[in-house]
């Protein structure tokens, strides 16, 4: 295994170099994706890594283990993740949700046999989805440019900073000894990938261009998560709505879209005011 490592690093370095060369030729010109050339290269690299190693391993894992065991694995790591989800809910000022997350950890770690059963969901403590990137978004930090990170995949500039904190704070990365930590990290990654296998075929079926399909899905998904599932519909720049003079269409940035993408603070503020009103 150790002898293989330098070769892998070398090929990784080559992939990066190739990405750097390709970065010059950006294509479709989406304002959210200024480094599209680099991103497409990284995306291709990740796809290659996935089809060569990760996906085959995940497929074998899915075939080898019965569904209840895989559910147990999912729940086990989900229980550990609930800790940081609670912390992030607290950082976002959502105390009831944070206490619910704490309650989930307590219930699932005990009655749920070290988290392998998600009893808390059965008794009505809903599982949340939070991370540091979402917390920053909630605080009003704009998403910044879209970027595809090697191995980890799609992020935005904001979510990349979030990811660094997520990894640093992740209890699993602090497991000792290192061998146990590595096994845990690999098991979690493989299990997560296995859970996504059914989605693969649907994406292949749906996407005209897989790169931009995944990109736009990621951006929509993150926007929705920051609003905790209550994101308002994106502005419709369609025919029936605005009788805009033809000249405006030649302009660089479309005014309606800019309300959302260029000033990302305002929708968050709106969301805040809405929650404040609701209380």
């Amino acid at each position: 295994m150790k002898t293989m490592l330098p070769a892998r690093i070398k090929s990784l370095a080559l992939a990066f170099a190739a990405a750097g060369l390709l970065a010059g030729c950006a294509t479709s010109g989406s304002p959210k994706d200024p480094i599209e050339g680099f991103n497409r290269a990284m995306f291709a690299f990740n796809e290659g890594l996935d089809s060569a190693i990760i996906k085959p391993v995940a497929t074998g894992y899915e075939a080898a283990l019965p569904s209840p065991v895989r559910t147990g694995v999912t729940n086990f790591f989900g229980n550990i993740a609930d800790l940081l989800i609670g912390v992030n809910n607290l950082l976002q000022g959502k105390a009831p949700e944070a206490f619910s997350d704490l309650g989930r950890v307590v219930i699932n770690s005990t009655i749920g046999l070290l988290g392998t059963f998600d009893i808390a969901s059965d008794v009505g403590l809903e599982k949340h989805n939070e991370d540091f990137g979402q917390t920053f978004g909630r605080w009003g930090v704009g998403s910044g440019a879209y970027v595809v990170i090697p191995v980890f995949g799609p992020r935005t500039a904001r979510d990349t900073v979030g990811l660094i904190l997520d990894v640093a704070a992740d209890p699993v990365t602090h497991v000792h000894p290192n061998a146990a930590r590595n096994v845990s990290l690999v098991l979690r990654a493989v299990n997560d990938r296995a859970n996504l296998l059914p989605a693969d075929k649907v994406v292949e079926e749906a996407a005209l261009d897989k790169y931009s399909y995944i990109r736009d899905a990621y951006l929509q998904r993150r926007r929705n998560l920051i609003y905790d599932g209550n994101a308002p519909r994106e502005p419709e720049a369609d025919a029936e709505q605005v009788e805009r003079p033809a000249r405006a269409e030649a302009g660089t940035v479309e005014p309606q879209a800019s309300a959302d993408s260029v000033v990302p603070v305002s929708p968050v503020l709106v969301a805040r005011t809405e929650t404040a009103e609701a209380k």
Partner: protein, 206 residues
């Protein structure tokens, strides 16, 4: 004769009732349960027979969709650039693409159940979101699946579906716009046709 009259007027009343009375949440629930019921019993669909799944979607689901509106939403500003003939072709091709995707998703069905979230129709509302959640039987997280419906003279029609916050319609906006920028409306039509043909070929293979 009297019987026939009664029969036809009965038919007339029931279709009018269907068109006007079915609330959006009831519509979503009825259609979902009907489709899932068929999928649960159909081993062909479960083992990946996309052709059969497409037929199911075409007959049961599609009459409740407004594809012109969906295509218009995905095309955004470029919609008005398209001639009526191009709009028609675009709608047909986008329709085919979404149907195949939907059908593919059905063949991946494995014992999930659907939870319908509380819904209340406010008086005078013509544009609503019906929220559901897919509960996974085994591993995996629950998936929010929301339907956006619009009231029309022919009853409520779905014009968008959001999966975990991702609109399956507006997700095409950027790629459609990029294609139109690079090779015009006809270029986009061609791209959709090629994609649909390759998809058809793939589903025949299976």
């Amino acid at each position: 004769m009297k019987f026939l009259f009664a029969f036809f007027s009965g038919l007339l009343i029931s279709t009018t009732v269907l068109a006007q009375e079915v609330a959006p949440d009831v519509l979503v629930k009825t259609v979902t349960e009907e489709v899932l019921d068929i999928v649960r019993k159909d081993r062909d669909i479960q083992s990946g027979n996309t052709k059969k799944a497409i037929d199911l979607v075409e007959t049961k689901v599609l009459p409740n969709f407004n594809f012109t509106r969906m295509t218009q939403l995905a095309m955004a500003r470029d919609w008005r650039q398209a001639s009526p003939a191009q709009q028609k072709t675009l709608t047909d091709e986008f329709h085919a693409l979404l149907v195949r995707t939907y059908a593919k998703a059905l063949t991946e069905y494995k014992n999930q159940t659907v939870h319908y979230k509380p819904f209340a129709l406010k008086a005078g509302e013509t544009d609503v979101r019906v929220r559901t959640e897919i509960k996974q039987a085994g591993a995996g997280k629950n998936i929010e699946l929301d339907y956006w419906l619009e009231k029309s003279p022919a009853g409520w029609k779905v014009y968008d579906i959001e999966v975990g916050g991702i609109s399956i319609v507006t997700n095409y906006r950027e790629s459609f716009a990029a294609e139109v920028r690079n090779s015009g409306i006809d270029g986009l039509i061609k791209l959709l046709q090629t994609k649909n043909k390759s998809g058809d070929a793939a589903s025949v293979k299976k």
